[in-house]
């Protein structure tokens, strides 16, 4: 194990602070994701053409919206570093490279949470009056667990895609097939909660996804950030 001048936790804290400060000064990505979430939900509701959509459709449209909005963050999260040549500086800096992946994953999680502030109330607004709704607590738990997996995967895919030709095309191609198991489990969690069933199995799968993808991404991210 290589000893780094800046320890992992401190490096992550500094990098996350940099990303969030940049986003606070010019909140382009957070605003784009929030607006996208709103527009996508409207489009999905009209696309489904169901006047009284079942809860699986409404909650499903929320999760599909979140997944698609994550693509915006994943496609942009390494742009500044790659375009300005900052990534070379970060790779050469005396910090663990895994800290770069972890910091980007935390930044994506923060952006997702911000976007959900818009998307979740909107999703509840669209629910039919008599529809069984998932309890807010369970939905929040599923969202938090889901965000972690989406961000862990997103940060790795972003690191890889930012260095390849046609990255705008590559991000959805690499990200979506790997995110589908999480989408299915998180959606099952929300729908089970709305039906009053136990959410233990789907929630356990979401957490298993987080653990497997998180560990795999942590193990291989150093190879994605070599140059």
């Amino acid at each position: 194990m290589t000893a780094h001048a800046v320890p992992f936790a401190r490096a992550v804290r500094l990098l996350v602070r940099t990303d969030l400060t940049l986003e606070r000064r010019a909140p382009q990505l957070a605003l784009a994701m929030g607006l996208f979430a709103a527009v996508a939900q409207v489009v999905l509701h009209y696309g489904a053409d169901i006047s009284q959509p079942p809860v699986s459709v409404t909650v499903g449209s929320l999760w599909v919206t979140l997944l698609l909005a994550t693509l915006l963050a994943v496609a942009r999260v390494f742009n500044a570093e790659r375009d300005e040549g900052l990534l070379d500086a970060l790779v050469l800096a005396p910090i663990p490279r895994t800290a770069i992946w972890a910091a980007k994953a935390i930044a994506i999680t923060a952006l997702l949470l911000l976007m959900e502030v818009v998307a979740v109330p909107l999703s509840y607004l669209f629910l039919p009056a008599d529809a069984p709704v998932p309890s807010f607590g369970v939905l929040l738990l599923a969202l938090l667990a889901g965000d972690l997996g989406l961000a862990a995967l997103g940060s790795l895919v972003a690191a890889v895609a930012s260095a390849v030709r046609g990255r705008e095309v590559m991000v959805p191609l690499l990200y979506l097939p790997a995110a589908v198991p999480l989408l299915i489990a998180a959606l099952a969690c929300s729908v089970h909660a709305a039906a009053g069933d136990s959410v233990m199995r789907p929630l356990a799968l979401v957490l298993t996804y987080d653990a497997i993808v998180g560990l795999l991404a942590y193990a291989v991210c150093e190879h994605a950030l070599t140059d």
């Binding site: 590559m170 097939p177 299915i184 099952a188």
Partner: protein, 222 residues
């Protein structure tokens, strides 16, 4: 290759003439002896691809990346066959081409789409160390996707697929199980022979490229 061909002929004869017909599905159930062994061989080669990908990340040997790529290539070719034979079986058994509640078929579709993206990634990066590393990363991630996809599809679907292998053993007659094993061995042998052949072809192509560069007077690494 000869051994694979001979075993395939034997397996075809066993399936067509020797093995008893299924009580419920009759003769058409014999597609099972193609569909399931091809699917298992496909998973096996994706696993081999992930193994060499992990070894490449540890040792940085370009040969490991090539072995991983060719194994995944074989896995995806076999996967295409699974996605052709699966709907045919679904059509003759259930009257529909695709069933979104069938867990095995949908798991396979997710894994197949993931590995199709592997090829898109591979050809989006210039040949060299970076391409090898990125391909290995994605191949390794893919093997984590198999149990996760299976778990997720299991949650979403009901089991329509005939479940043949249980914890207490295969739910079929001994002769059927024997024919199944022969067929599986034939497909493993065939895929292994094709893997070696493709690997040899790739190495030959690399050798030709090196010679061409040398003729043009360019610097060539050993």
């Amino acid at each position: 290759m000869l051994a694979a061909g001979a075993l395939l002929v034997i397996s075809t004869l066993l399936i067509a003439l020797w093995v008893p017909g299924d009580r419920a599905e009759g003769y058409r159930q014999r597609i099972f002896y193609l569909h399931v062994p091809i699917a298992l061989t496909s998973y096996l080669f994706l696993l081999v691809g992930a193994f060499y990908a992990a070894r490449h990340l540890l040792r940085r040997d370009p040969m490991d990346d090539l072995r991983s790529y060719v194994a995944i290539h074989q896995g995806v070719i076999l996967g295409t066959l699974v996605l052709i034979t699966g709907p045919i079986w679904a059509r003759v058994s259930w009257g529909i081409w695709w069933d979104w509640s069938d867990k095995q078929l949908n798991t396979f579709l997710l894994v197949f789409l993931f590995y199709c993206a592997y090829f898109m990634l591979r050809y989006a990066v210039e040949e060299g160390a970076r391409r090898e590393r990125f391909s290995s990363i994605y191949a390794l991630l893919g093997i984590g996707m198999v149990p996760l996809s299976l778990g997720a599809v299991h949650l979403a679907g009901t089991i329509h697929h005939p479940t043949v292998f249980h914890r207490d053993g295969p739910a079929m007659e001994h002769s059927m199980f024997f024919a199944f094993l022969v067929s599986w061995a034939a497909f493993i042998l065939l895929a292994s022979a094709l893997w070696r052949l493709e690997l040899r072809g790739k190495l030959l192509a690399q050798g030709v490229q090196r010679l061409q560069r040398r003729i043009r007077g360019e610097a060539v690494l050993p």
